[in-house]
């Protein structure tokens, strides 16, 4: 049975259905101390004094630390800019930023002591919106002195970009559609809250974290504590959901410092509320002006995008630059101008989140197309068809050409919702594409060990957070080496064992780690061929075990292959390199809106993804469906609501609603388009983010049609829909 393209049973599934799988919070270290963070419940405050004496008297407390106890100057960390202090120093910049940390024998003692820490603080005005971030009179979120040599240091603009081509201002268009779009502040809400452990060890320090990028964490911890990388070990248990929220360091540098300072293992498990305060998606306001010919061809795209980041940069600037760069989507445009700003605010640091800025851009750009279609009397499927590039065509003059037959996705998704059939009353249909740039410059290294008995081990730094990386990489090794999957072990998540990998992000791992594994297997096979040549009586079709026994003799041994794959860093390119491949998905839907209440029922949602080759079809479909339901979340129900003081008002699962099993579409179809035209193993591309890109504009168009409204800010709640209908009716009276 072919291994590639078979839906091999997921590795790790059995452990998960029996409760044996060890997530970070399940790890027990002997002698570990429990940690609790102390933070303020307002966004921006000056710290006058922190009283810890009473808290320190709780039996079992081993230490209470504030910024004063840290090395001076206070260590700062961050994946791009080291702007974030281990503990708030003099000033807090977001609700949930820790001002003190308690370490105690038991969780109860730590929690009791944390409640007794008294912080004398003065609440300060906070920047909480795009408008206030752009206001020249607003307080500065970051200290200009710490942004030396940055011409934007006296603003809340972290960074800004302008991309594009042609001459937008002199372009002539028959129809110009101009609108403002808003994408809400949402949070990852992985079912596993964050948990971290750290302990001193013989080499230096070990950090356990369900991080998606063990090697990023390693270098950031090392840098924050001025340790050599070689002395920092990261052990990364499989995350219980990541979605980008577990990509970039949060409290690990602090935990590493505590472990070294106390010379004891330390453990911190965040509550769900603390997790909400720790990571979120950047919200965005996008002003879109799109020019069309009478036949619906895009003459120009003129976009101004403001992304609201949080108090610290994290990976936020990259989110904005990457998404803006390809914001025009999978379409030809004679002219384009994209002006984008990454804005700081006194809120939870925004970080990577599935789609990496593109959901925000797609919401605007695809909605523009839908509106133009209506205005010009052109079918929304057809208007897209007219603007899609041919495979191989450079639709963005500076980047990778179209690498798929993208029209196929459009056709399949439309067919699955019976696009041309008559619509019942109160119903609407919508369609949208979503295009994401994958990895630009990155590197993956894999080691494959062929053991003496003909079994093998694969060592790689990819993180399996539910997408099934373990399974797919074993399938690849099995295929390449001709070994049964159940005779292959895969080791991940330990920087002292597995070699370097840039990250598990950008849907890159099947392609890059997959290619690295193939490369490592090729090295093993080359060595095996040499062994055959050098071993008397050996032949190519001997089982590995017999060959290696003959070759190594009683002392035994193994054959090790190292493989590498990546895409080249291009210093002149604004993103550091071109997209290795494009991830494209089409979403089409049919919805019903209750005209009296605004409630939305999604009858059908159809997805079609251009994946090159599905190495494990079940896993790809499962990822696409999951992404689509996550997309339904930000489309219909998710939004973090901030109070005037910058606190998150709907902190926790009671009032932050994500789709439950009763909220899924009544019918959900997913199709995979496989033309073996990707750069990955066997012609594969990456997948898994598409649903978050394409669902919003499809649902948005359908809802707007069904309800007779035009809503351009998400989420489309029943109340919002009802209010829009009611406003229309009043106007019509």
């Amino acid at each position: 049975m072919p291994i590639i393209g078979s839906s091999l049973s997921r590795l790790g599934a059995v452990e998960r259905v029996t409760g044996a799988q060890q997530y970070a919070a399940d790890i027990r270290l002997d002698n570990a101390l429990q940690v609790k963070l102390v933070s303020l419940q307002c966004a921006h405050a000056r710290i006058r004094a922190i009283e810890t004496a009473e808290a320190a008297r709780v039996p079992g407390v081993r230490g209470i630390f504030t910024a004063e106890d840290l090395p001076q100057p206070v260590p700062r960390f961050g994946p791009v800019v080291a702007d974030r202090p281990l503990l708030a120093e003099g000033e807090t910049r977001f609700s949930g930023e820790p001002v003190a940390v308690v370490v105690a024998d038991t969780h109860d003692a730590a929690a009791a002591a944390a409640r007794l820490v008294r912080v004398d603080f003065a609440e300060l005005p906070a920047v909480l919106t795009v408008a206030s971030a752009l206001d020249p009179n607003a307080p500065l979120v970051q200290d200009p002195a710490k942004r030396a040599r940055d011409p934007l240091a006296r603003t809340n603009i972290l960074q800004q970009w302008q991309f594009g081509w042609g001459q937008v201002d002199s372009a002539k268009a028959t129809l110009v559609v101009e609108n403002d779009y808003a994408f809400p502040m949402v949070t990852h809400f992985a079912i596993e809250p964050h948990a971290f452990l750290a302990a001193p060890d013989a080499n230096g320090v070990v950090v356990w974290s369900p991080t998606q990028h063990p090697y990023v964490l390693q270098r950031v911890v090392a840098s924050a504590l001025t340790l050599p990388i070689a002395r920092v070990r990261v052990i990364a248990p499989d995350p219980g959901g990541g979605f980008g929220g577990k990509g970039w360091p949060k409290f690990e540098p602090l935990m590493a410092w505590l472990a070294l300072t106390l010379n004891r293992p330390v453990r911190l498990v965040l509550t769900l509320e603390e997790t909400f305060q720790a990571a979120r998606r950047a919200s965005a306001r996008i002003h879109a002006r799109t020019g069309f010919t009478g036949e619906g061809r895009i003459v120009f795209q003129d976009l101004e995008a403001d992304f609201l980041l949080g108090a610290y940069a994290d990976i936020g600037a990259r989110v904005v630059s990457k998404a803006s760069y390809s914001a025009c989507g999978p379409y030809r445009a004679e002219h384009a101008r994209i002006v984008a700003r990454a804005l700081l605010s006194h809120t939870t640091p925004s970080t990577a989140f599935r789609g990496f800025g593109t959901p925000q851009a797609s919401w605007a750009v695809e909605s523009q197309l839908n509106e133009a279609a209506a205005a010009l009397g052109i079918d929304p499927v057809e208007i897209r068809r007219r603007n899609l590039p041919e495979k191989g065509e450079a639709f963005n003059p500076h980047d990778t050409p179209a690498d798929g037959e993208w029209t196929t996705a459009l056709t399949k998704a439309a067919a699955a919702v019976h696009w041309d059939s008559p619509l019942a009353p109160n119903r609407g249909r919508g369609i949208s594409l979503g295009l994401k740039s994958s990895s630009t410059a990155s590197r993956s290294i894999a080691i494959v060990r062929l053991h003496f008995d003909g079994s093998a081990s694969v060592l790689c730094g990819t993180s399996d957070m539910g997408q099934g990386a373990r399974t797919v990489l074993v399938q690849i090794a099995a295929q390449e080496l001709g070994i049964e999957p159940d005779r292959i072990a895969i080791v991940m998540g330990d920087t002292s064992v597995v070699p370097f990998d840039s990250s598990t992000s950008a849907s890159r791992s099947t392609v890059f780690m997959g290619n690295a594994v193939i490369d490592a297997c090729a090295s093993v096979k080359a060595q095996v061929r040499q062994i055959v040549e050098a071993t008397p009586g050996a032949s190519r079709d001997m089982p590995y075990a017999d060959l290696l026994a003959a070759h190594f003799g009683p002392p035994r041994g193994e054959v090790i292959g190292i493989g590498e794959a990546g895409n080249r860093y291009e210093p002149g390119h604004p993103l550091g390199g071109r997209a290795a491949f494009w991830e494209l998905m089409c979403a089409a839907c049919e919805v019903e809106v209750d005209p009296e209440t605004g409630e939305v029922t999604v009858h059908t949602l159809a997805l079609a993804s251009d994946v090159g080759k599905a190495l494990n079809p079940h896993q790809v479909e499962a990822q696409d469906e999951g992404a689509a339901v996550m997309g339904l979340g930000h489309t219909l129900m998710e939004q973090l609501v901030l109070g005037a003081d910058g606190r998150i008002l709907n902190l926790g699962s009671l009032d932050y609603r994500i789709p439950s099993i009763k909220d899924v579409p009544l019918e959900l179809h997913s199709a995979l388009i496989e033309n073996a035209d990707g750069p990955g193993p066997y012609g594969s591309k990456g997948a898994g983010e598409g649903g978050t890109l394409a669902v919003a504009a499809a649902i948005g168009a359908a809802v707007n049609h069904a309800a007779g409204v035009t809503i351009r800010d998400l989420p489309l709640t029943p109340e919002k829909i009802w209010m829009a209908r009611n406003a229309n009716r009043r106007l019509g009276d």
Partner: protein, 158 residues
């Protein structure tokens, strides 16, 4: 306080404080970490266990309330290391992604099938309405429960 309760078929004696939830005691005192902690307020279902045969959120039960009672967790489902039909079905249908919601999901499904051995799709959704998943589209989870029902999961004694 010292309490005695039956967990996965065995009597267990546990030291705990009155304010400790059953979830905390299972995870921290009994080292049964299969049951997960997420929202801690009965909204997500990750901590679902069977208490006297009924599915409950362990975060909303004080450990001391369980004196003399019977608790079954995900670890108690597989007999002699063999997966039960529900566990098997979850593996086969590809319902498992990151897996964090899965123990709660399976225990809730187990309860559903014990009260309704042949549920419709809507009844499955009702039965699992208290279990959140962020990875999946839920459809394979529904398929897994249907498949297990077909294979007679509901007829097994708890």
């Amino acid at each position: 306080m010292t309490i005695v309760l039956t967990v996965n078929g065995s009597p267990r004696t546990v030291e705990c404080k009155p304010h400790h939830s059953l979830l905390e005691v299972l995870r921290e005192r009994l080292s049964l970490t299969g049951t997960k902690e997420c929202c801690d307020e009965g909204e997500c279902g990750a901590c679902t266990v069977l208490l006297n045969g009924r599915a409950v959120d362990a975060c909303l039960v004080l450990a001391v309330e369980c004196e003399g009672e019977t608790v079954q967790t995900i670890e108690g489902l597989a007999e002699n290391g063999r997966l039960d039909p529900l566990q098997q079905a979850f593996v086969e249908t590809g319902a498992v992604q990151c897996g964090f919601c899965i123990p709660g999901m399976i225990v809730a499904a187990r309860y559903l099938l014990s009260t309704n051995p042949h549920p419709s799709e809507d009844e499955i959704k009702e039965g699992l309405a208290g279990n959140l998943c962020r990875c999946a589209g839920y459809s394979r989870i529904v398929s897994a429960v249907s498949l297990a029902a077909e294979r007679g999961q509901g007829q097994r004694q708890d």
